[in-house]
Every structure is written in C-alpha cells, then in structure tokens.
C-alpha cells in the first residue's frame, strides 16, 4: 500500500506504447517504406496530391464513421456515389444549371440513404445486407440512366470544383477542411452526434431518455447518403466526366479508413480524428503503391491486409 502514490510514475513503458493508436504505427511504416522506395513520395507536390485525392475519400469516410458508430455499415456508398454522379451528369448534359445538378446529386444520395435508414431502423433489418441490396439497386440505376457510358458533356464549372484554387490552396483541400470541421461539430457538439454514439453504445439510455432512436438512425443514414452525393460531385469534378462504375468499390476504402482509424463495430467506440488519420493512411498507401507501379486493382489487396490487421489489433486490445 505504501507505494500507491508512486504508481503514476512507474507505469510501464509498454502501457504508453499501447495507448498510441495502431494507425500511427501504420502511418510511420508507410512513410518510411515509400520514402525509401521513391524519392518523390515526400515532395511537396506529391503531398498536396495525396491531400487532394484523399479529400474525396474523406467525404465518404466521415459519414461512414457516423454509421459504424451506430454499429451499422453502409456498403452501398460507392454505388450510391455512382448514381449521384450519373444524376449530376444527366442534368449537366441536358443543359441544366450547375446548382440543379448539385441538388440532383445530393438528392439522389439522400434518397438512397433514407431508403437504407428506413429499412434498417424501422424494420430492424441487418445493415450490411440492406446496403448490399441497395448497392445492387444503385449500381443498376447508374448503369441504366447512363446507358453504361460515361457522360463527358458536363460543362466547365463542375471540373473547376476540383481543379480550382482559392488563395493558392487547391479547392479539394478546402472542401476537405470544411467537411471535416462541420462533421466534427456535428459529432461532438450536437445532439445528432451524441445520439449517433448512443445508438451504438447505449441504446437503452436513449429509450429511457424518451429519444426516438429510429428517427435519428434514419437521419444518420440519410446524412451519410447526402455526403456520398457530395463526394460524387467532387469525384465527377476530378475526372471531368460522370462515370457509372468509377466509384464502385470506394466504399471499401471508406470503411477501411474508418476501421484503420480505430472506430470499432461494437459499442460506439472511435471517432473522427481517427478516421482522418485512416484516410491519410489509405491515401499514402495507395499513392506510394502508385509511385512504385502497382496497379490500382492490385492495391486493394494491401488495403484488405490493412483492414484485417486493424481488426486484429482491435481484437487484442479488447481481450
């Protein structure tokens, strides 16, 4: 008993190491590995490139964090983004106003999110299979409305959203910063965020507090859909075309960023700072693999390994 006061000073160094999130180690390994393999990796221009490309992923990964905090998942993100992108493309091709196109993209995303949320919250269906079904439906609609072709006639305003600069800062970085700030406020400074974490962590407490968990869960999926729509706009801007299959599979990078960032599928643990680091990790991994000449279709294997590693670390921690 006499050495109780000394305890804080004698905390073993392993405990300190254990408190550093796993994603930090992954980032260090990736930076060291790729900067030694390729000199360009740490160039200023390449770092800005990583940030710009990561901005699209961030727009998908931020709302995915909300969804996973509720013990849910949304595997339809990539397909919904494809449908949103095609909606934007169709409006622009028909000569519609840019704002109309943007509203269409966000609207399509929100509708799919409402659909997911209603089935999951109201009818209590398992999130992964509902969103798997939605994935097929959204993918089909994107192909049907675009006829399986890319829509290139989208004007010049949309592409400027990705290629433009404000005060010398690339536009996508500004989108990323604003989106992160807003999502951060939403998760940590609003009811929406408190309830999102409570639905996963302690749904009983919500019920006793008289809060309608169902309505909030629906709105979380709808919000996620809207964000996927915004991500689709930025993706369309980056490619200067609306393509019905370009964003398929992006949901895996988004889920990977969230999982690698330390958000767990149980009990509403985790948060947005981790997701930000996760997005940077995935972004650097993909960029580094690009620089050493690994094709994008093969890169998913590395992302898969990263996800399984993160789940392993998570399992050890909770044991």
């Amino acid at each position: 008993m006499h050495n109780v006061q000394a305890l804080p000073q004698t905390r073993p160094w392993t405990a300190t190491v254990g408190r550093i999130p796993g994603v930090a180690y992954m980032m260090v390994v990736i930076v060291v590995l790729f900067s030694s393999l390729n000199r360009q990796f740490l160039d200023g221009a390449n770092l800005i490139n990583i940030g710009s490309q990561g901005s699209i992923l961030l727009l998908l990964a931020l709302p995915m964090t909300f969804v996973i905090l509720t013990e849910g998942i949304d595997v339809s993100a990539g397909a919904v983004a494809a449908a949103s992108s095609v909606a934007l493309g169709c409006v622009m091709q028909a000569g519609g106003h840019t704002w109309l196109g943007i509203v269409a993209a966000i609207g399509v995303g929100t509708l799919f999110g409402l659909f997911n949320g209603t089935l999951i919250a109201w009818l209590r269906l398992p999130p992964f299979v509902v969103t798997l079904g939605t994935m097929g439906m959204a993918q089909g609609l994107a192909l049907i409305f675009s006829n399986g072709q890319s829509i290139t006639d989208i004007g010049t305003v949309i592409p400027a959203l990705y290629g433009g600069k404000v005060l010398g800062i690339p536009a996508p970085l500004i989108f990323a910063i604003v989106a992160y700030a807003l999502n951060h406020l939403l998760l940590y400074r609003s009811r929406f965020g408190i309830y999102a974490r409570a639905i996963g962590g302690n749904p009983e407490a919500l019920r006793f507090a008289g809060v309608s968990a169902k309505a909030w869960l629906i709105s979380i999926y709808a919000f996620a859909g809207a964000m996927f729509g915004i991500g689709a706009i930025l993706l369309t801007a980056r490619m200067s075309t609306a393509h019905p299959t370009a964003s398929l599979g992006m949901e895996f990078d988004a889920i990977a960023a969230v999982v690698v960032g330390g958000t767990s599928f149980e009990k509403g643990n985790g948060g947005l700072p981790g997701t930000l680091l996760g997005v940077l990790t995935i972004g650097m991994l993909r960029n580094g693999l690009n620089l050493v000449g690994v094709p994008s279709s093969v890169q998913v294997s590395c992302v898969g390994v990263l996800v399984l590693l993160a789940l392993l670390i998570e399992g050890w921690k909770t044991k």
Partner: protein, 322 residues
C-alpha cells in the same frame, strides 16, 4: 433422397416451401406466355444449367448463413480458384491437377475466413468483406490483365456437356443437394450448425465445439466455391481477373429467397435450390423480354431486400406468437 424430403419439415416449413415452389411455377407460366422462347427445351435446360452453377456456390454459403454468419468472399474465391486452376490446366494439360488446385485454393480461403471469424472473433461480414477485396487484388496481380482460354474438350464437358440430354452441372447440383441435405439433417455436425445459428449461448453450454464447427462451415463454403469455379471455368472456357465480382450478390440472393434466415438456425439446402431457380428464372425472363442487362443488378439487389424483409417480418410474427 429421404434426407431431402425430411428436410421439408411439416407445418410452417412446408407452407413456406409451397409458396416458393408456387412462385417458381407462376413466374414460369407468366414467362411462357410472355415469350415464345421461354418454354423451349434449349432455354429450360439453359435455366437449369445456370441455376445449378448458382446452387453450387450458394449451397456452401447456406451452411454459413445457417450458423448465423455470412461469406461475402465467395465470388472472389471463385475467381481466384478458377484463374489458378485455368493456368494449371493450360500448363500441365491435366484437368485433374487443375481440379485439385481449385478445390485446395477454395478450401484454404474458407479456412482463413473461419479462423478470422471463429478464432480471432471478427464480425463475419467485415472479415469476409476484407478477404473479398484482398483476394480480388491477388487475382488481378496473378492474371496481370491477361485471359486464359481454350481448355481440353473433356474438361469442358463438366460445364457445357450433356448426359442423357441433361446438362452435366444439373447432376452435380442434385449430387450436392443430396450431400448437403444429408449433412444438415442426418449428421451431428449439421444439427450442431443449426444449434449454433439459433442460439450460440445454449450451443456452447451443451458442449458443442463452436469454433471448430464454424471453421468447418466456412471451409465447406470455400470448398464449394472451389468446385463451382471448375464448373464455371469449364462452361466459360476462359478465365479473367474480374469474373468473380458479379457472382456474390446472386449467391446471397439465392440463399435468402430460399428461406434461409440471415439470423441463423432456419433454412435448408433444398430451399436454396428453389431460391437459385427462382432468381435464375427472373433474370432469364428479363433477358427474354429484351430488358436491358443493366437492370439485372437492380433486380438482384431489390430481391435481396425483399427476401430479408419477408424473413424479418415472419420472424417477428413468430416472436409475437411465442
């Protein structure tokens, strides 16, 4: 055959099956009015051939779902197994060696899934989802964009041949329906899988080695994916890196419309066969009615949602009654 019939348990289950068989007949009848081609021997045999391929994949998945898990990696598994087997057959000229490679590859992936889920306690959907992308990348790496085609005539009979005017895969479907029915209703392993799926806690207290059974179930799902890859390869007569991607959704749809509950413990291999037939009929119908092929993922997705909706509603009704 007895086991197959026995899996049709009296009461609720029988009426569940009756409604699904009726759905198959109604869609079939409607299609034969709507299209001249539908009720021809060639088209019907084609439907059975397609359905048997789907069933081979979905039968292993059925066991996983019965144990309240999911295997999202089967499509990717089929693709990698097919590509490995294809290149072995091309290199050695021996279909037997190719078959061994495909079955080994499929089973190995299944065992890894089982270890991730059962021993490392990862949620099955995210573990197999991660595996799906990991395998997809490996397949692309292995194939490097190339296509393997042109396999020996004898091997191709496995997918496109006929025996007594009936496609060879249909015999495989019946064989594995029988085996799966025997496994689920006549072996202690099968009964234990149902027990694990319907109530894991009581399964543990009654001394069932849950971890080993789960690994077994995922391994069988992988094995069936490996087998399906051979039939797939023999039928297509070519292999590419991206053949697996469109296979996962239909397999899950077949299991779910076949009446196997996503919540575990309820369902039979025979149901999955009906599910595979139903889905194939619908997709074939879209095709015959000249509806754009782009509608197929939409319809498959919608069917998955409807199936899980029906499952959940009937479960809630049962709970209310109990």
């Amino acid at each position: 055959m007895n086991a197959v019939l026995n899996s049709l348990k009296p009461g609720e289950n029988a009426s569940k099956f009756a409604s699904r068989v009726a759905a198959v007949l109604v869609i079939g009848l409607a299609l034969s009015f709507a299209s001249d081609v539908f009720f021809t021997q060639a088209n019907l045999l084609n439907i059975f051939r397609q359905a048997s391929l789907l069933f081979l994949m979905a039968s292993g998945l059925t066991l996983v779902v019965l144990a309240a898990g999911i295997d999202l990696s089967i499509g990717a598994n089929v693709a990698l197994s097919a590509c490995l087997a294809g290149s072995v057959i091309k290199a050695t000229g021996s279909p037997l060696e190719g078959a061994v490679v495909a079955l080994a590859c499929g089973t190995a992936i299944g065992v890894i899934n089982g270890v991730l889920v059962a021993l490392l306690r990862m949620p099955s959907f995210i573990a197999t989802y991660g595996m799906m992308w990991l395998i997809n990348g490996l397949t692309y790496y292995y194939m490097a964009g190339s296509t393997i085609y042109g396999f020996p005539h004898g091997f191709r009979q496995l997918g496109s041949g006929y025996l007594f005017a009936i496609p060879v895969p249909v015999y495989l479907m019946l064989l594995f329906l029988g085996l799966a029915a025997l496994f689920t209703s006549r072996t202690i392993y099968g009964q234990q899988v149902y027990a694990i799926g319907s109530n894991p806690v009581s399964a543990r207290f009654s001394g069932i080695p849950i971890k080993r059974r789960l690994v077994l179930v995922y391994a069988l799902s992988g094995l069936m994916a490996g087998l399906a890859s051979l039939v797939f390869l023999a039928r297509l007569n070519s292999a590419e890196g991206d053949i697996g991607a469109p296979l996962t959704l239909p397999a899950i749809a077949a299991v779910l419309i076949g009446g196997t509950s996503l919540f575990g413990g309820v369902g039979t291999p025979f149901g999955t066969l009906i599910g595979a037939l139903l889905l194939t009929l619908v997709l074939n119908g879209l095709n015959l009615l000249n509806i754009d092929a782009n509608w197929q993922p939409f319809v498959t997705g919608a069917i998955i949602i409807i199936a899980v909706l029906v499952d959940s509603v009937s479960r809630q009704r049962q709970e209310a009654r109990a």
